[in-house]
Each structure stands twice: as C-alpha cells, then as structure tokens.
Symmetry: D3
Subunit: 197 residues, 6 copies
C-alpha cells in the first residue's frame, strides 16, 4: 500500500492535461505507482490514419502506463499511409530516437536561429535517426507502401506542439494582425488558414 | 590565469553557433572565465527596428558576456515600433520573464496539444508576464508609440526558433510537399511563402 | 480547473516561508497553475527606500505570480537613493543578471575561499553584470541621483540571505561567543551589533 | 565547422570505455557533432545469438551515432532464440522501455532492499514494459520461436552491468572469500564459477 | 507551521518503502520539514553483527531524519567482525565516500561491461575510498579485530540492492531457468541457492 | 589510458582555483580518471588547530582524490580545541551531514530572509546534524576536551565562503562605505576589521 510518492500528482494531473519534460528530474524511489499490470499496449497494431495528414501516433507515456511515473522515458509507434506525414512539430521536453520498421521515410529537423539549417535524410527499414529536444521536425512517407516507425522519447510525457495547430488553430485564435505581419501574408490568407480549425 | 574549466568549450563553440539550455546544468566552480570586464552592454539604447516585423532584440547571453558561462541565465531588451512585433517563436532551452518599460504590448503563448490554448494579455508599463519553456509565444505593440521591454531567460543561451523562418525559410528548404500537406495549403502558396526568404 | 500538479505544494508553502532554487528541476508540464491573470506587477513604480540602507527591492517571484511555479525564473526591480545600497547578501538558489535603468552603481561580488577575490565595477545606464549563484554580492549607488536596476534570477524563488541580518540578527541570536571568536571582536561590540536588530 | 562543444570529450572517450548516464545533463546547444550522416543502423537485422545465453543486443548509442551526444537517449534491438535470455543486469544510468516485435518474453525486475520484490510478466507482441533505472532485470524467451524486442533507454550511453560477469568474471577476480561468504557457498563452487570466465 | 512542501510526499512514503536518488533534484526551499530535533543517531554505537555476513549497517537517511528531505545526502556507520563483510551490492541513486575509523578493510568495485575491471585496495585507519553510483562494490574485514567505517552518500535515500538477495532471494523467486542459464549452473545448485532465503 | 572524459577539465582547473557544486550534474561514465590509487587520506590524524579560531578542516574532495571527479560527493574531518570553532560560513554548492566522533559541539544554521531563524543544537558523540545548501552555519566546541567530527558533502567540491573573510578580508577590499552602511557601524570599526586580514 503505497499511498503517496514523489510526482504522483503528475499522474493525477495527466488525466486533464498534456504533460512533458525535456530532462525529467531523477526519481526518488524505485517505482512510484503500482506497476504490476503493464499495459497490453498494442504497439503491434496499426493506428487509424484516416485523417488529413494520413498518419497516426500511438503513444505509450505516463498517461497510458502509470508505472512510467518519475522514470523519464516513453515510447510511440507511428503509422503512415503512402505520402502520409507526421507534420512539423516540437517536443518541448524530450529528444526522440526513431527507427523504421517498415517503409521509407523522408525525415528532418531545423536548427535554431540564425542558421535554420535543415538536417534531413531518407530512412530505410532498420535505419535510426535522432530529433534533438525542442527543434521543429517531421517525417514524410515517400514510399509507395505504408510505413511504420518506433520511437523512444527522453521524458515520461514529452509534449507535442504541432506548428500549424498552435499557430493557426489555437483556442481562442491569435489576433490575425500578429500572424499577418509575422508570415508577411495577406490578411485574407491568414483568416482562411485560421478558419480551417 | 584560468586555463580550462567546465563548459569552456561551450564558450568557444558560441562563436560559431546558436546555443541554449532549458535547465542548464549546475556550475562546478564560482566562475568559469575571467569576468573582470563585464560588457558595456548598451541595454539603454534602442535597437534597429527597420525590418519587416518592426522590432529588434538586443541580446546579452554567453556570446556577449563570457562570464555568463555555466551560470544559467541571460537577458534581452526588445524594441517595438507601433504595430511592430516579436513574431511567434520558441526558446528550446529557457523560460522567459518579461516586463514592459515603455508602451503597451499584446502578448501571448499557446499550450501544447491537444488544447492549444492561447493565454494572452495586454500589458502596460510595469506589468510582468512569463513565457514557459518550449512554448510558442509572441509580443505585439498595440500602442501608438514605441514600446520597450526587458526580459530575463533561464539559460546562458536560450536559443530562438522563429516559426516562419524555421518552417518556410530553412536552408535548404523543406520539401514543399511536406508543408503543403501539413498546412493544407495550395502548393503555390507554399512555394510563394518559401520564396520570401 | 487543474486540481494538482508537480510542485503545486511549493506554491502553497510560499505563503509561509522563503523559498529558492539554484537550478530548479525541469518542469513536468506546460504550466502548473492558472496563469490567465498575470499580475499588474508595478515594476514601473519606485519602491519605498526610507530605511537604513536607503534602497528597496520589489520582487516578482512565485509568491507574487503563481504562474511562475516550476518555471525556474523570477525578476526584481531595485531602487536606490544616492548612497543607498543593496547590502552584502547571497542567493542560495540563483544566479542574478542585472542591468542599470537609471543612475550609477558600484557593484561587486567576492569569490570563495581561499582567494576571496573581489570582482567589482562601476556600472552606468545600460550596463549589465552577473552575480554567480551562492556568492556574496552588493550594489551601492555612487551617483548623486536615484538609481534603478532590473534583474533576472535563475529560480522561481531565489532566497535572500542578508549577511548582517543572518549573522547578527537571527532569531534567536547566535551565542555571542561564537561571533566574538569568528570576527575576533570585543564581546561588547558583538553585543552592540546584536542589539541593533 | 564545429570544432569543440560540450561533451565532445565523452564521444572521444567512448572509443575506449563503457559510458552511461541515468539522467544526462541537459544539452547546451541544438546538436553537438555533425549529424548529417545518421547511421544505417541495421536494426532490421537479427544479431548473432550463437552464445551461451542465446541472445544478442544490437546497440545504437553515442558510440554508434555521434549525433546522440548530449541528447540523453539511445535505442537497442534484442534478439532471442527459443529459451534464450538477456541475463540479469542493471543500467546504472538509464531507465528502459521495451516493446515486443516478435515472440513471447517472460520479463521482470527486482526492487531494492528490504523488499526485493519481483515484478514480472509474460509479454506478447505489441506489449510494453518498463525497467526502472538501476534495478536488476532480465528477459527470457518462453516461446517456441525467435523473439525480437526494441527498447529505448534514457541515456546516450546507459552502461550495462551483467551480474554474473561483474561478480564472478571481473578482471582481476574478486577474492573468493568475499564471494563465499556473500553467497554462503562452498568455496569450491565459487572457484568453479570464477573459472568459467 | 509548515503544512506541505516540495517532496514532503517522499518523507511520508519513506515509512513504507526503500527510496534512493542518484542525483537528487535541487531543493526548492531552505528546509522542508521541521528540523528542530535532529536525531540522537547513535553513530557512536556498534551495530549488531550477529548475522551470516558478520557486519551491520546503521543508516541515517531521510527515514531516520526527516530534515534531510530534499537535501540529497545521507550517512551510514558500518561495523564488521573479523572476516565480516558488507557483501556485493549497488546503490541505484548514490555515490559513496567511505573512511575507515578502526581496522583494516579490503574494498573494491567492478566497472561495467565489457571491461568488468575490479578496482580494489586494502584500507587502513584514516584512508578514504569512493564507490561510484550504480556499480557493484563490497568491503571485507581482513584484519583480526573489529572494523568500523563511516560513509557519506550523495542521496537522501540511496537505495541498496544486495546482489545475492535480489538474484536468489526475490519475492516471488525468479524462475530457476532464467538463473540456470544466466549463471551457467546446474539447476540443482540454483534451487539450492534459492532455498536459502 | 583514458585520455579525455567529461569534466576532466574540472580536475585540471582544480589545481588553480576553488570549485564546488550544489547539485553536481550526473556522471556520464563509470569513473573519469584513474582511481587505482585512492589517497592515504589521513583522516585518522588531527589537523593543526594553532590558529585564531582553534579549529582545522581536513578536506578530501576532488583536489585530493582525482577519482572523485564527476561523482558529486566529498568528505571532511574537523578538529576543534576546547572553545575552538568552525566559524560562520556557507557552501554554495553542497548540503553537509555531520557526525560527532569525539566531544561536544554547539552547532547551528540560520534560514534565509525574512525569518533568519537560528536552528541550533548541542551535539554529543554519535549525534548527526544536517546543514542545508547555501545557508550560513557554524560549529563551536563547548566541551572541555578536543572535539572531532566527520562530515559528508553533496558535491565533489563544495566551496567554502567564510563570512568574515569574504566580507572584511576580500582582495581587494570592499569599499568601506559599503560595509559601514550595511552593518550600521562606525567607519573606524570597519577600517579596523578590514585591517585584520
């Protein structure tokens, strides 16, 4: 009978919000919640890719497995239809290491100002790539068949900021003047982009 | 005569690249490079705002003051013309606390998936606001006069990822198909956006 | 409605005690308490300097803005009358970066044993200086007009140990024999110093 | 042309020794060595299991991919013949999250004194399990076919201490009297066990 | 009247379980529980060494002194009869520094794979030795008199994994097939070893 | 033959300066310098107490034992003549846990502003006390015989700031006006205090 422990509050909170941690603090105990019953996580099953980006991320983080609490790691499976993509996003609290199980992926990330250098590569089955913490990155299925990847992330809850959602689809919307000037776009284009969400 | 010390390599590297650290490791010594000669940093002077976003960030980080090395903090002054903005960006390695010295700023940040909640506010002279590590945020001068802000950041080199630069202006460019699908835009619009950089 | 989250206990405790953290642990979520209502912090207003040291520190830390919780940064404004000073003190949990908004300050810090080297400088408007974590430091207004400074600190609650208060003004008092021997003073001088608080 | 950066020394050292880090310090820059050329890591290929434990670990850590330097994560593929096992071991610097790609594994770890509780489970394809940092754990193929697992580890170089190698196979050997008393064994048994390495 | 504070939950939990932390997170306040009443810890008294290994560890960690909470350090006294030993074990969350008060100890630790190098030494009164975090180590009294050592550990609750207990004495037992193959032993020997606990 | 490793630079620097670290970063390898030759540290021998405070601290940190490098812990022995004291000081980078081997000590520390609460106690042989990181603390021998203590500190190089040395004995001296106002003393007293060093 455990009662309370360090970070158990995080587990509770996980029910209501999106967590993440770049370099999670060290644990203060062996384990923090009962981990007798690890999940039948189903990472063997393809996720539902019937969506505009034709991809799906199946997540195993502290929200799915409470036993991950305080342990600073999580895992995902990503499925891609042909030409499907995991669109540009960042993890504010984790670096990601990814290996391709099936298919061919064009992947990349962009370094910070002022270089904004794109580091990209085409990955084949068995290849491994790393996306550093906080940087914008993406994967795109450039093969003619479905693709599948497994990735480890260095946080029990890495957080995801999908760029187009955060910029054009926030709730409430960012004032269109801000985006118009930032992207040097016609205001009608910004309004159109915001109306999509 | 110090010779070498923990993280001195970071200082060297700073000459060639953009650094940052969300929660910098603790220092291992009082100071790491000679700090007898702190910079006449000139944070009393307005930066040059003659640019498309009509704003300027004057930075005091480990690249400007070597004595900041290993100490986990830096400072900036931001100037804004009327309707000028510090466009949507993230700091992969720092939280930012900002106070308004002059003018009126509409500021905000967006939380991560799936909420993408916009937390925004109009700040007047003397107000303070905080932008959490890794989240997309902006400031926009909604007053009729110039605005000035001072901000502290929790890293000796926080890093800056300006969204429009990283997504549409990387070097080399991200394949237009990736952006077309991600933003659900006509490919001509994407090509146009990429041509601006 | 958040409920609980990592470190919320710190916010509660903040009501009753002085907190601080040199290199705060990384956050485990985007934000930890509602931050819809950032403070009208009033950093544009001079603090009350009618006191023996003729200076005043206006603090914006996790006690003033709950949204700073888990984010590892805070800010202060310091006002000084002519010849006013922020007397020798340490922050057990933060490095400080300071810029002068108005006036002229003689500032410095002392490194640890056995060197006890004083690093000092006269700062003018716009200059920047850094006080490393845990070291004794001070600012002294050597100009003929009031001075104002803004500083960022690398903790949500840096803690302040003012040397003369901690040594001669603790509650209860340190046994006078301890101080007499440490400072090699006449016991009457120690008793006199302790009687001031 | 990067030159030097934080922790590059670790990469150099990796050529000569076994590294690992439970909760690696946060990075101080986007990336630390050129990562234009991620490895054709070959995680799609089965490792050589012709050895006494009939299993093989293919590692992708900072020794294989220099670009992992400072990023705090690594990945392995583990192959098991029927009744093959990854014998009891610890990672002094990482928690491990594992998913089964093929086959059926009996896995477990033991908590610290005084409970020494065994947490074990039979995992099928797609299941996920976590081994907390520093605890003794193992996987055993209880199926009639080969098994394959992929695991993420929360360090760029987690370190491996295989119990039987460290205790009975160290170089030079631990004095047999120490082991005889510790394991309450006949000294001949200890000598026999040590002679196997 | 404190109420709650960062990590107070750990103190509560300490009543029921074995904690430890390799590099404990930094504290967020001066102290976290009342520390007006430090323990008469009795480190001057010899522990009871009437047990199979003829040694005893008297621990002063966060379970004994609540004031250690969040402070990242603890202390032990170890007593050894002649030929008594502190058998091979690891601390998953702490490095240990040890000094000999009385007697003569043969001490050592083994580095991780693939070297498994034994670093050992005979220590006399006043000597100091360090056991790095997570590595298997031991002390053995090779003198003809009782020995006494004092050690500091870099965690408020370092955790102890005694190898023979964790491997052969877990509750429930590890399947004997796993140990038989790992140690390349006859199954009867494994069954015998397991029956001892 | 190791070559280079993480933090080896710290070891080099240790020859020239005073280091310390409150919560040292986690190590990235088992050990960082050859540790085949631990020091005959001589903690069994009394230090030389012929000095104004009639006490002596014998230190075993990374300057004495290179093998402590990156391991985040150190140890000291303190000797006190009757009425000798370890005068008020802080460790900017470590918490300290102390046990009394011989004699009777009046010990204490003062919490930070605004409470400045003195937590003190008389310790007898075998008692244990903890001094939290960054707080001013002292030990005073109130017995009629010599006293001896052993302490562990949570850093490979904790740093020491002796208050009277740092404030009145820095090199060069702090401007006397600063100290006069801070301590509300006659300037002659300040000049006298400064002349002692």
């Amino acid at each position: 009978m455990k009662g309370v422990c360090f970070l158990v509050t995080v587990a509770l909170m996980a029910l209501a919000s999106s967590l993440a941690s770049a370099s999670d603090p060290s644990p203060m105990q062996d384990t923090c919640v009962a981990i007798d019953e690890p999940k039948d996580a189903g990472l063997d099953k393809s996720g539902n890719t019937s969506n505009p980006v034709a991809s799906n991320v199946t997540t195993v983080n502290v929200e799915q497995i409470k036993g991950l609490n305080t342990l600073g790691i999580s895992m995902v499976r990503i499925d891609y239809e042909p030409y499907g993509e995991n669109p540009p996003h960042t993890h504010p609290r984790a670096t990601e290491i990814l290996t391709v199980l099936e298919g061919t992926l064009y992947v990349g990330f962009v370094t910070s100002n002022p270089e904004n250098r794109l580091i990209s590569k085409v990955l084949y089955k068995g290849d491994v790539f790393v996306f550093p913490i906080g940087l914008i990155h993406f994967q795109f299925n450039v093969g003619k068949t479905n693709a599948v990847a497994i990735a480890g992330l260095s946080s029990q809850n890495p957080g995801v900021i999908t760029i187009e959602n955060a910029v054009f689809g926030s709730d409430p919307s960012i004032n269109a003047d801000v985006l118009t000037r930032a992207f040097q776009l016609d205001k009608n284009v910004v309004n159109y982009l915001q109306s999509r969400f």
